[in-house]
């Protein structure tokens, strides 16, 4: 929770700066603004950290002390707190490390080298944080639940097939995000192009096509794939079959094949065996 508070302002600032980059071409102005903003944000972020850190311990005394020391630098503060509340500093460091990692993991994105290819540079500057009016509209399209991915695949296949016949499907892209059930998204200039493209695909409902506000589009695409979280030694529960409901332990993971091997206690029906013999 604490790290979230620290993260937010920093993230916002980089977004702001990108927009700024696009509007003002002046390199000098851009640099100054960037630095100023960074300083301001850092102050806000650490403020948030302190107050929320204190609230965990729910101690009026420290809260008061915090306000008194408000203008002091960070080191003094953490030292003055470290004596009575010991675990705090450690927790603090951890949070701070996390925050810094979050902030600087993309540090290379802020660097630009003179020897960069001109191609690459244009690429960075084009990378606006929301689509402009010149960009195509994103349309939300209803489809059968479970056919979201499939719809995107089918439209690509249709595009390729029509291209071979010398015709062009006018849509620009089609995408399915995993957290959105029963819908997928199409980039196209006009609604009629979306409807035309989806003609003949029975799991897509073209009567339900609505434009997505430009400001919402980046949120749709902002997915981060989780790492495969299953590791040897973890516990699992069988969902189906003879062993349904039984507890299992993972003994091997094959990431490439997306298979795990588990061990289970055999279900031996002793009564049935006894009757048999």
């Amino acid at each position: 929770m604490v790290s979230d508070k620290g993260k937010q302002p920093a993230g916002k600032s980089s977004g702001k700066r990108k927009v700024d980059d696009d509007k003002t071409g002046g390199a000098k102005k851009r640099r100054n603004r960037g630095v100023l903003q960074f300083l301001e944000d850092a102050a806000v972020a650490s403020d948030g950290d302190y107050s929320s850190g204190d609230s965990i311990f729910d101690d009026d005394f420290f809260e008061e002390e915090e306000y008194d020391l408000g203008t002091n630098d960070k080191n003094d503060q953490s030292k003055s707190h470290s004596l009575p509340v010991f675990p705090k500093e450690e927790e603090f460091e951890e949070e701070f490390d996390k925050m810094m990692e979050e902030r600087y993991k993309n540090a290379s994105a802020f660097l630009r080298f003179a020897e960069d290819e001109p191609d690459l540079r244009r690429f960075v500057e084009e990378d606006a944080s929301i689509p402009s009016i010149k960009d195509p509209t994103t349309w939300k399209v209803k489809c059968a639940v479970g056919r979201e991915r499939n719809s995107a695949f089918c439209l690509m296949q249709k595009y390729v097939d029509l291209q071979a016949l010398g015709k062009k499907l006018q849509i620009i892209s089609a995408y399915a995000v995993e957290h959105m059930k029963g819908h997928f998204f199409v980039e196209a200039e006009k609604q009629s192009e979306v409807i035309e493209a989806c003609k003949g695909l029975c799991s897509i409902y073209t009567t339900r096509v609505t434009p997505v506000p430009r400001s919402q589009v980046p949120h749709l695409l902002n997915v981060r794939s989780r790492r495969a979280e299953i590791s040897v030694g973890m516990w699992a529960r069988v969902k189906n079959g003879t062993y349904k409901g039984d507890l299992a332990q993972v003994v091997a993971v094959n990431d490439a094949k997306r298979r795990v091997t588990v061990k289970l206690i055999p279900r031996i029906d002793l009564q049935a065996l006894a009757q048999k013999f």
């Binding site: 993991k105 993309n106 191609d119 690459l120 690429f123 084009e126 990378d127 689509p131 960009d135 195509p136 994103t138 991915r149 499939n150 995107a152 695949f153 439209l155 690509m156 296949q157 595009y159 390729v160 291209q163 499907l169 849509i171 620009i172 892209s173 089609a174 995408y175 399915a176 995000v177 995993e178 980039e187 589009v217 980046p218 695409l221 997915v223 981060r224 794939s225 989780r226 790492r227 495969a228 990431d255 490439a256 094949k257 997306r258």
Partner: protein, 118 residues
């Protein structure tokens, strides 16, 4: 590479055999990578060495985007696949390219951006 570039192969099945290239995030089946390699990353030479496919691609990815016109697609530019050939891509992969293959990218002077951590 504009809209005139020939599109990449389209996946022929939609099940667990799908894999995404760790550099360009192109999605195809294992067999398609084995036979034709990756259209955007030919220097990985996956078609010559099937073992490379396991290193260069992943079955763990999140979201699918079919890009018909990469140059005009805002989503493609935002995902940094605007310079690649039209085709089916994934929105995000979870793993980073192994170090030796990252070095290969550097040698080939192609951009590689490791995935963001959750």
């Amino acid at each position: 590479m504009g809209s005139s570039a020939p599109p990449a192969q389209i996946p022929t099945s939609f099940g667990h055999e799908l894999r995404a290239c760790l550099r360009c995030r192109l999605v195809k089946t294992y067999d398609q990578f084995r036979e034709n390699g990756c259209e955007n990353c030919p220097f990985f030479k996956m078609d010559e060495d099937p073992e490379r496919i396991v290193d260069c691609t992943t079955p763990n990815f999140n979201g699918i985007i079919s890009v018909m016109d990469p140059t005009r697609s805002w989503a493609a530019r935002w995902l940094r696949i605007g310079k690649f050939v039209p085709g089916v891509y994934t929105l995000a992969v979870s793993e980073a390219l192994p170090d030796d293959l990252q070095a290969l990218c550097e040698e080939e002077r192609v951009q590689y951006a490791p995935p963001k951590r959750v």
